[in-house]
């Protein structure tokens, strides 16, 4: 059992990988909140609260859902668009910024239109993003980004992973499907309707 908590940064000049601090990825039906295992329904509710209480909630869709390369990708993209619409209806500052590929952007990225895994902090700083969700990003690239974000920004990170999840995010889902993304959108709407979405975030 790890004593390490995956909290909002800025954490360190070079923060550790959470897995090397003993954080273990969840089993099916579970997720992680700040590195601790929780039932997926609780993780849904916490993600909803984070989105609803954010000043600039943002979704970062990656190549696996941006390109129409199979039927599931298209369905996921539709579900992500719906989640974005739900967030936008609640908060007009919500953003939807793609990670279309992983090429380092030289000489300069345009942070208003894209995010890059090698220097994700530039897009987060520029847009003052305080809660973000990665979806459709290859796992290695997502972990790379999530750790850099934790190291240098105060952004709360959520990972909607199609594989085993991401311990370097503050909150992670695993085995993402279009249905799971739609369920998250439903949960955001439900928690919003309840009016109770205050969060208490620690920091590193």
């Amino acid at each position: 059992m790890s004593n390490y908590s995956v909290l909002k940064g800025p954490e360190a000049f070079l923060p550790p990988a959470a897995a090397c601090e003993g954080v273990i990825l969840p089993d099916p039906g579970q997720g992680l909140i700040t590195g601790s295992v929780a039932h997926e329904d609780l993780v849904m509710e916490e993600a909803a609260r984070q989105f609803l209480s954010a000043k600039v909630p943002t979704i970062f869709p990656g190549p696996l859902v941006l390109w129409n390369w199979n039927e599931t990708a298209a369905k996921k993209a539709t579900a992500i668009k719906r989640l974005y619409d739900v967030l936008k209806a609640h908060n007009s500052s919500a953003l939807h910024i793609p990670m279309p590929d992983y090429r380092p952007k030289y000489p300069k990225i345009n942070p208003e239109i894209e995010i890059n895994p090698n220097h994700p902090n530039l897009t987060i700083w520029h847009n003052k993003i305080d809660v973000c969700m990665f979806v459709g990003v290859h796992c290695h690239m997502a972990n790379l980004s999530l750790k850099i974000i934790r190291g240098g920004t105060d952004c709360y990170t959520i990972a909607m992973c199609a594989q085993a999840g991401h311990e370097d995010a503050m909150l992670t889902f695993r085995d993402a499907t279009p249905e799971k993304i739609n369920k998250l959108a439903d949960t955001v709407e439900r928690v919003k309707a309840s009016g109770n979405f205050a969060v208490n975030n620690g920091s590193a």
């Binding site: 990988a17 897995a19 090397c20 590929d101 992983y102 796992c139 850099i148 999840g165």
Partner: protein, 399 residues
């Protein structure tokens, strides 16, 4: 296509593709008496390997040639000989980048000639299986067993498992593919055996039917996209990240390395399930322990038996995985020990260093006995070492 959807179907060789757990734990097994090289042939026959590339160096030559036979028989998709070991490992990378399940073998100086590729495989998250039949690497040249070679690859970032016996070897080869290819791991894996002692010695091995095969590798679960000159790591290797001197480049490079180490850590969960733990323990309530990996464990076990006849109780800890190293397991297993012997088939004593780094009060660790260069380690040598130390410390022990 999802590999699991192929379970129950038949591959082009007519083998039934079965769930890996069924192959490992439920399928009936038959007893065979075979060498380690023959074990490679029978494991790879059941492993749905797409590509194997070889280069001859003793003692792995025979195993590599037998995999060539499998290609002739239709069990392996592609097989060819590389120009040298560096070329072999580079070609393996190309095949793995392209989405193939890849297997190769090497030994001793061949491992070192190929060395540059291993951290590259890791950074590129290529789940290549490398069978290392370890032997001497230094001058004067020796083709005989020596485990120094394992110590030299410890920090490449690869998963490293060390088999004690032919049975371990067969099981590790097949289970290694499953762990290495998990999307949260997705790293190369070195399955090591002690050259000649395991590769050329016949032993009992229980293996399932050759009519069964592992599910094929599913490259769509890769945590990295397929190779593309514009996409990292290739793009990074050819321009900005190695050429630029700025914080972003450094931070990305460092974070990238951390992620590969994290992937190795994640393999613990899968490995513990498939291997039944990262270590095996026998009588670890004893005050005297022998800890090692590979065939040094077998010799240690026999030494413990000899000492038990004299009323001296010895515990045994067998380390199965060198990377990830079973730090917590070793700490727990050694909590009662007053003296810990670490016999090794190399002069460097890398296993003793690992154990010293893992446990409190590491003055308890006796780094030895050591043999090298092809020497055997008779159990009597371990017994003699233990008795020598006990004679010095008998006032503090209850043996």
């Amino acid at each position: 296509m999802d590999s699991k959807s192929l379970i129950g179907t038949f591959n082009k060789k007519g083998q039934k593709i079965v769930d890996s757990d069924y192959l490992f734990y439920e399928a009936p097994r038959e007893r065979f008496f075979m060498t380690g090289s023959e074990v490679v042939r029978e494991a790879i026959r059941r492993a749905s390997v797409d590509v194997s590339i070889s280069y001859p160096i003793t003692p792995q030559s025979e195993a590599a040639a037998m995999v060539g036979d499998l290609w002739v028989e239709g069990y392996v998709g592609e097989y060819f000989r590389g120009e040298n070991e560096f070329a072999v490992m580079s070609e393996c990378a190309g095949a793995s980048f392209g989405g193939a399940r890849v297997f190769t073998t090497t030994s001793g100086p061949g491992t070192l000639r190929a060395y540059e590729n291993f951290p590259m495989w890791v950074g590129s998250r290529l789940p290549i299986m490398l069978n290392m039949m370890v032997r001497g690497v230094n001058s004067p040249l020796s083709i005989q067993p020596d485990t120094l070679e394992i110590g030299l690859i410890i920090d490449t970032g690869m998963l490293i498992w060390h088999a004690e016996s032919a049975q371990d070897f067969f099981d590790y080869l097949l289970k290694g593919f499953m762990v290495a290819e998990e999307p949260d791991v997705h790293l190369p894996i070195a399955i090591c055996i002690d050259g000649f002692f395991v590769s050329h010695t016949k032993d009992d091995v229980y293996i399932p039917s050759a009519d069964l095969s592992l599910p094929p590798y599913n490259p769509y679960r890769n945590p990295m996209p397929c190779m593309d000159m514009e996409v990292p790591p290739v793009r990074m290797m050819r321009d900005p990240f190695v050429m630029k001197s700025n914080y972003i480049s450094y931070a990305t490079q460092a974070s990238w390395q951390q992620e590969t180490r994290a992937a190795c850590e994640r393999s613990r969960k899968h490995t513990i399930r498939l291997l039944g733990g990262l270590i095996e323990e026998e009588n670890t309530d004893a005050e005297i322990l022998i800890i090692s990996s590979g065939t040094a464990v077998a010799q240690g076990r026999e030494a413990a038996r000899l000492l038990s006849e004299e009323g001296i109780k010895i515990g045994i800890v067998k380390i199965k995985t060198i990377r990830p190293f079973p730090y917590e397991e070793v700490r727990q297993a050694t909590k009662n020990a007053k003296i810990i012997f670490v016999p090794e088939f190399n002069v460097a004593g890398w296993m003793a260093r690992e154990i010293k780094a893992a446990i409190p009060d590491n003055h308890r660790v006796i780094a030895g006995p050591h043999v090298a260069g092809g020497m055997t380690m008779p159990p009597e040598v371990i017994v003699e070492e233990i008795k020598k130390v006990l004679a010095q410390k008998k006032e503090t022990l209850h043996v």
